[in-house]
């Protein structure tokens, strides 16, 4: 699986393994049967004896992998680095996944009460609904939108449209979230080839530049977080860093990929990234401003809700979609003249967030 993504990235860059001087393998290793997977991934890809290691930041692993590669190249330690995001979740039984999911939070003070990934995001949803009047119907619109674009992405897991009614009627997972408010677990891989400016100029006529890298953390425990829990401070902090570094603001972004692990997450992300004011995420959605043709198209590759969420690969998959957009290769979902793209990737239950800004 990693080979398929890696090989197509090599073809695209017209480069061979011998020219890649290091690899960063990104996976949430608690889901892997293979211990220290960088070892076997580098071997299978033909990347020995070059340096390789794992980067783990739960669902944000490969966004942090990009940050790592950028630092390796900026420091001049390396010229070309492959970032390989990969996760094979179907090797685990659903029992095993549920058991792991139960330990997604603070294992001493919160997991002993039966927490789950959806439970944490559901608690943000409850708070947002109480403060801003957000409804389950509005949250369902996120799934409807993302499934619509998933149909146009041959790599997406779900290729079928869905109605708001079907979302609302799906079985409860952690109230107010229902089955189709949640992204599905999936197997997947995505690969990025990162090079310094000199090398990139030789490899391609259409390089995409890393303009802004923001990464932040929040307390792992929900009890350790401040405020009414209607937004993710971690996203706001990562966004601020990325916007500063890229010297752009939310209004300059032409196309975005945001972490829609759950429908409510996408609404919060609009607000935390500055696409909408606090409480204004649902209005942005209802006015179809995040659709293709809107002010800021979001997740028009289908998002995690359609593509599935292969934890370690998700961040790189978002950056793959943005790269296609910025090169004008996104086909039927191309945003005309897209020059600036933003990807936002939340790790775990919101203890990490990465915001990456790419420029054509």
């Amino acid at each position: 699986m990693a080979f398929e993504a890696y090989s197509s990235a090599l073809d695209d860059a017209d480069i061979e393994s011998s020219e890649i001087d290091g690899s960063v393998v990104c996976s949430a290793t608690h889901y892997d049967k293979q211990r220290s997977p960088a070892g076997v991934v580098a071997e299978y890809l033909g990347l020995n004896p070059q340096p390789t290691f794992n980067v783990e930041a739960a669902c944000a692993s490969s966004a942090v992998g990009l940050r790592t590669a950028w630092a390796l190249i900026s420091s001049k330690l390396h010229d070309v680095v492959a970032v390989v995001g990969v996760q094979k979740m179907t090797e685990l039984s659903s029992e095993e996944i549920q058991e792991l999911m139960g330990r997604a939070g603070d294992v001493m003070w919160e997991s002993p009460f039966g927490t789950t990934m959806p439970a944490y995001y559901a608690m943000y949803a409850t708070a947002h609904m109480a403060k801003y009047g957000t409804t389950e119907e509005q949250m369902a619109l996120v799934t409807v939108k993302n499934r619509k674009y998933g149909m146009k992405n041959p790599n997406a897991m779900f290729q079928k449209p869905i109605s708001a009614e079907e979302v609302l009627k799906s079985r409860p997972v952690s109230a107010p979230l229902k089955l189709f408010d949640c992204c599905p677990n999936a197997d997947g891989a995505a690969c990025l080839i990162i090079a310094n400016a000199e090398k990139a100029g030789k490899l391609t006529d259409t390089p995409v530049w890393v303009a802004g890298l923001g990464l932040a953390s929040s307390p792992m425990s929900l009890a350790g977080r401040k405020g009414p829990l209607t937004s993710f401070e971690v996203t706001k902090n990562a966004a601020k860093a990325a916007y500063n570094m890229a010297r752009v603001g939310p209004n300059d972004v032409d196309v975005a990929e945001v972490h829609d692990s759950f429908s409510i997450t996408e609404i919060l992300n609009y607000e935390d990234l500055g696409f909408a004011k606090p409480g204004g995420g649902t209005r942005l959605l209802e006015k179809e401003e995040t659709e293709l043709g809107g002010k800021i198209p979001v997740n028009i590759d289908g998002g995690l809700i359609s593509k599935g969420h292969p934890v370690g690969a998700t961040g790189a998959s978002q950056l793959f979609a943005l790269t296609k957009q910025l090169r004008g290769e996104a086909g039927s979902t191309q945003v005309d003249g897209a020059k600036i793209g933003l990807a936002q990737n939340i790790g775990g239950i919101g203890m990490y967030a990465a915001v990456t800004i790419l420029k054509a």
Binding site: S111, P112, F113, G114, A130, P172, S174, L229
Partner: protein
């Protein structure tokens, strides 16, 4: 038995704050306080992150709290499946610190909303396990 006795299903056995269990046995819920800078911690911790001193004392909490948010879990980890659906909440104590805890099944879900006043009380499980919940 160590700290795995804490919670509905505990994962961690050895901690620096196992003393919490002896308070729970007495029907009390206690926080820790740094003896040097007087900062209070709940959940309890043994090391002060402000002044980095590790001498603590225990202070009993009144349990009065205000709900910040909650959820009702239908799809649960294996150890918790027999209890579904169950309520989980985040609440703010009178000292400003926050607690993540189950909400007693005796509480009517329809009455729950951010801002609702609840009490943090000691709860006992069927396996001799001890914890606290909001009621």
């Amino acid at each position: 038995m160590g700290f795995e006795k804490f919670g509905r299903f505990g994962y961690v056995s050895q901690t620096k704050i196992n003393t919490l269990l002896s308070y729970l046995e007495k029907g009390q819920i206690a926080a820790t306080k740094c003896k040097k800078c007087r900062r209070t911690y709940f959940p309890p911790r043994a090391d002060c992150l402000d002044c980095r001193h590790s001498t603590i004392e225990w202070v009993v909490l009144d349990g009065k709290s205000s709900l910040i948010t909650f959820t009702q879990v239908f799809f649960a980890p294996p150890a918790f499946q027999p209890e579904t659906p169950y309520l989980l909440g985040l609440a703010q104590l009178t000292n400003g610190l926050r607690v993540f805890a189950p909400i007693s099944p005796a509480v009517d879900k329809e009455q729950l909303n951010p801002g609702v006043e609840l009490n943090l009380k000691v709860a006992k499980g069927s396996r001799n396990n001890l914890y606290y919940w909001l009621e």
